[in-house]
Structure formats: C-alpha cells, structure tokens
C-alpha cells in the first residue's frame, strides 16, 4: 500500500481551475518527483495535501486515512513535513527555536534532544549559528535549516517545494544530495522542482504536471523524448 494516495483531486481558485483531476501516489520510503512549468499547479497540489487549499473533488489519503476536512496542523501531526516554496524560515526566531518547533507536537524529551544532535551533526553550519536569528542565514543555510526542522518531526513523508530555487548551482546540488540521503534512510519524499533534469535524475519515478493535469508519469522520465523536448529542452535553452 502506498503511503500517500491522491485520486482525481480538483482545486479551483474562483473560476480558475488549478488542479483538474490529479492522481498520484508515493510509496513508503519512495522518492517521487513532480515537475512542470510555472503555474502548472505543483504548489497547489502540495497545499491541497496540507489542507491549506480546499479541494472541490477527489480524495487524498495517507496510509488509508482521509486528509479531507483535517486542519493543517493535524495533517502535519500525521507525520507529513512540508517545506514550502520560499522555505518558510521563521526569520525572527533563532536557529535553535526553529529546530525546536520542528518537534512542537512531540514531547521535548531525550529522544527529541538526540534528534536535535543528529540534525546538527548532519548540518554543522547550523550548530555554528545555533543562537543566531534564522533571518541572518544565507539562502542555502536557511534551506538546510528548514529541512533540518522538518526532520525534527520524524516525518514519514516530506513534501519539498522547489528546494533549490534561488540557490547557487553548487548549493542546489548539495540540497539534492541531502534529499537523496533522506530517501535512502527511508523517508518518503515528494519533490517538486523546476530544475526538472536534476530532479528527474534523482528520482526513480516521476510525474509531469501541465495545466492542472498529469500528462506523463512513470520511471526514467529524464530519458523520455517527450519530456526532453517539452521541458528539459527549454531548460537547456536557459529558460
């Protein structure tokens, strides 16, 4: 059984249809990529999963439990960690406080503290800046912070929305390496990326979203001729 099942989800902002019958699954510990042009509806799908936008039809389930009608914080407590586009750093809070809030709904016990040690070991730069305001961190550091914060909740599934956006290519690559690492450790990941080439190469399975519909899905999409022409080609042209 897959961890996350999305069936025929429809979302509309007023008269504008953002998602028009999207279906998608993410298996236990699987890394799945969702690519598509700007405005294809990738972020909307993430928000629909988190209960931030309301679906007008369809079904979203996590381990067989429907997510519909649940509040965002309840969905988070099911073990779904969402890293929104633009990262969602709490800039006024210190690095430590950001990480502390990652484990908000867990007791702050020895286990949580050892998780903190593990996150800091994984991202040594965060340990150095532990008492700084998160707003003073660089873009790459902030991305590490929010991933670290997401890990503090011991997630079953991570939703990553454009983690490499606005980062230098080298740092972006570092983020992708971390994502791969997480996946290898058994955390399921749904990765949304505009950097389609890198993302599709990273994941075994992927989806292509266009105008609110899944137009392509399957394994080895990075090598698909259609994807190459429609999306990766434009990427190569520098768009």
């Amino acid at each position: 059984m897959s961890l996350l099942t999305i069936r025929n989800v429809k979302v509309a902002y007023g008269k504008v249809v953002a998602l028009d019958g999207v279906s998608l699954t993410v298996g236990e510990g699987e890394l799945v990529t969702l690519v598509g042009t700007n405005g294809a509806g990738k972020s909307t799908l993430m928000k629909a999963i988190m209960g931030i936008v309301r679906c007008s039809a369809g079904e979203i389930e996590c381990e067989g439990r429907s997510l519909f009608g649940r509040e965002t914080h309840d969905i988070a407590r099911l073990g779904i960690a969402y890293v929104p586009e633009g990262r969602g750093t709490l800039r006024e809070l210190s690095v430590r406080e950001n990480l502390r809030l990652g484990a908000f709904w867990r007791p702050w016990d020895a286990e949580a503290k050892s998780d903190l040690d593990r996150v800091l070991a994984r991202f040594p730069i965060l340990a150095e800046r532990i008492n700084q305001h998160a707003g003073t961190l660089s873009g790459g550091e902030q991305q590490m912070l929010v991933i670290g914060r997401a890990l503090m909740s011991r997630p079953r599934l991570m939703l990553l929305d454009e983690p490499s956006l606005g980062l230098a290519p080298l740092i972006g690559q570092r983020i992708f390496d971390i994502v791969a690492e997480l996946s290898a450790q058994g955390v399921a990941v749904l990765l949304v990326e505009q950097n389609a080439h890198a993302a599709l190469k990273l994941a075994k399975r992927g989806y292509v979203l266009d105008m609110g519909k899944i137009v392509l899905e399957g394994e080895g999409l990075a090598d698909s001729r259609l994807v190459r022409e429609a999306y990766l080609g434009s990427e190569a042209c520098g768009l």
Binding site: E71, T72, H73, P84, L90, L93, W105, G135
Partner: protein, 292 residues
C-alpha cells in the same frame, strides 16, 4: 526634580507598556487591532477592586483576581468577536466593528453595575515614603514597579523558553508556517488572548492602586495610548512595546512637568509621529508591515 519626574514617568509608562504588549501580542498573531483591549484592561481594574472590597484580599491577590478576570474576558472576546469572523474568511473591517461593539457592551455593563462616575479604589498599599537619595517613592510605587518588572521578565521567559511561547512567536511571524509545523494556530491565538488580556488586567489593577480611582471609561484613553505605544515600539515587537511604553510615560510626564498639561497628548502623539517618520516601522523593526 528631574530624577523624581523620571520616576513618575516610569510609573506611568510601565502601565502603558503592559497594555501595549497586549495589543502587540494580539496584533502579532492576528494582524488585527483588538479595539476592546482597553475595556479588557478596565474589567481587570474593576475585578481587582471587587477583590479588595468584597473579600478584603491584599493587593497581590487583587492582582491575581484582576488578571484572571481579564484573561477570561479576553479569551471570550476571541471566541465571540474574532473567531467566527475568521472562520468566514479574512475580513479586516468586520473585527474592527465587532470589537468596538464588544467594548461598548463591556462599558455599558460596567456603567450599569458600578455607575458612570469614577469609583474610588481603596489604597490597599502603604503610604510609607522611602527617600532614596534624590527621589522619594511610596510603598505602593515600589510594589507597582516590581509587579511591572516581574511581569515583563515572566513574559520574556514565556516567549523564549516555553513551547507555547515560541509557538506564539512563530504564529506571529507566519501563521501558515506555524500550522505546517503542527501548531494548532487557533489554540495559540486563544492562549495569546489569554496572556495579552492578563497583562491588561494587571495594568488595570496597578492603575487603580496607583491613582486610586477607576471608571468604566478608563479603557478608552488607555486603549489609544496602548496603540500609540505599539506603533512607537514596532508592530509585533514585545520589547518595543516595553521601551515604547516607558518612553511615552516619560515624555508625557516631562511635558506636564516643564510645559503645560494641556499639551500632554499633543506631545505624546507628536512623539509617535516623529518616530514613525524617522523609523516607519517603529523603534524595534520586525517582519510585520502595516501594509499587507
């Protein structure tokens, strides 16, 4: 005289600060003005008065009764005047109207119960005067100042050391991010109202103890001053509200002491305008902008 006037300003300013912190906490999580907060402050003063009159409690117990009464009223206001509107989509105008209405209801209830005139507040504290070199303070003033300082330290520890305190600041910075971290935003908002209103209640009892009179309309002016302090300190900044409150208290007292009392409010709001011209986002700038 300057030192004594500074002390007077600090006394007045510490109550402004407590009220302004309440505004700023609520503005932080909701981005909305709570226009009945002045009345919550007033309710605290009357509750404290009852504690002193009916049950013959000491000032410390009166303070606790005042803060509990205000916290309850404040949380009730969130449930009645804010939450239903929030559930129906984000209107910025509706909560203004609903809180003004709630404030008027509180004023009317208090007027019917206690009369529209100022009610004398028993001087529960010693009138013993301590001469500390160039300034002299009464026992009651020492009590008031200690309460204000202890309250502010407690608040500082709450927002930096406790789970709900940090969650409150997170909610204040970004409601959606707080929610995706598993924070129940509605609970945090309710807690925020409780804390903010409790501070207002403490301020109400302190004003009663310090100036020996309270009235159902005392919240109106305090409400305006509290909002001014919030703007001076920087929207959403707790420490800005503390400093801004003291600053406003000192400026008011100085303008009365060295100029004319009729210009007091002109100076107070002149200070606010000046600070906003020089630093449009207040003394302690935060991520919150007024324009959204």
């Amino acid at each position: 005289m300057l030192a004594q006037q500074l002390a007077n300003g600090v006394m007045l300013g510490s109550t402004y600060a407590l009220v302004a912190i309440g505004y700023t906490l609520i503005f932080g999580v909701l981005r909305l003005l709570h226009l009945a907060h002045g009345e919550v402050f007033m309710v605290g003063a009357f509750a404290g008065l009852q504690a002193l009159l009916w049950w013959q409690f000491g000032p410390l117990a009166a303070l606790i009764v005042g803060l509990i009464a205000s916290a309850v009223i404040g949380m009730l206001l969130e449930l009645v005047a804010f939450r239903p509107i929030r559930k129906r989509g984000n209107s910025h105008l509706a909560p203004i109207v609903s809180t003004i209405g709630a404030g008027l209801v509180l004023q009317e209830v208090m007027t019917k119960t206690f009369g529209a005139e100022q009610t004398p507040f028993p001087s529960a504290l010693s009138r013993v005067i301590y001469n500390l070199g160039i300034i002299s303070v009464t026992g009651s003033q020492i009590f008031i100042l200690s309460v204000a300082i202890v309250t502010m330290i407690a608040l500082h520890l709450f927002v930096t050391r406790t789970r709900y305190g940090i969650a409150m600041r997170a909610t204040s910075e970004n409601l959606q991010v707080a929610a995706i971290l598993g924070i129940n935003v509605n609970t945090v908002i309710l807690v925020t109202f409780g804390v903010a209103s409790a501070l207002g209640g403490i301020a109400g009892v302190l004003v009663g103890l310090n100036f020996n009179a309270i009235s159902p309309f005392m919240g109106v002016e305090m409400g305006i001053k509290g909002m001014a302090v919030m703007l001076i300190g920087g929207l959403g900044s707790i420490y800005g509200a503390m400093i801004g409150g003291l600053l406003l208290g000192i400026v008011e007292v100085m303008s009365v002491a060295y100029l004319v009392s009729s210009l007091r409010d002109a100076f107070a709001f002149g200070l606010m305008i000046l600070i906003l011209i020089l630093r449009p986002r207040g003394l302690f700038q935060t991520g919150i902008r007024t324009e959204r």
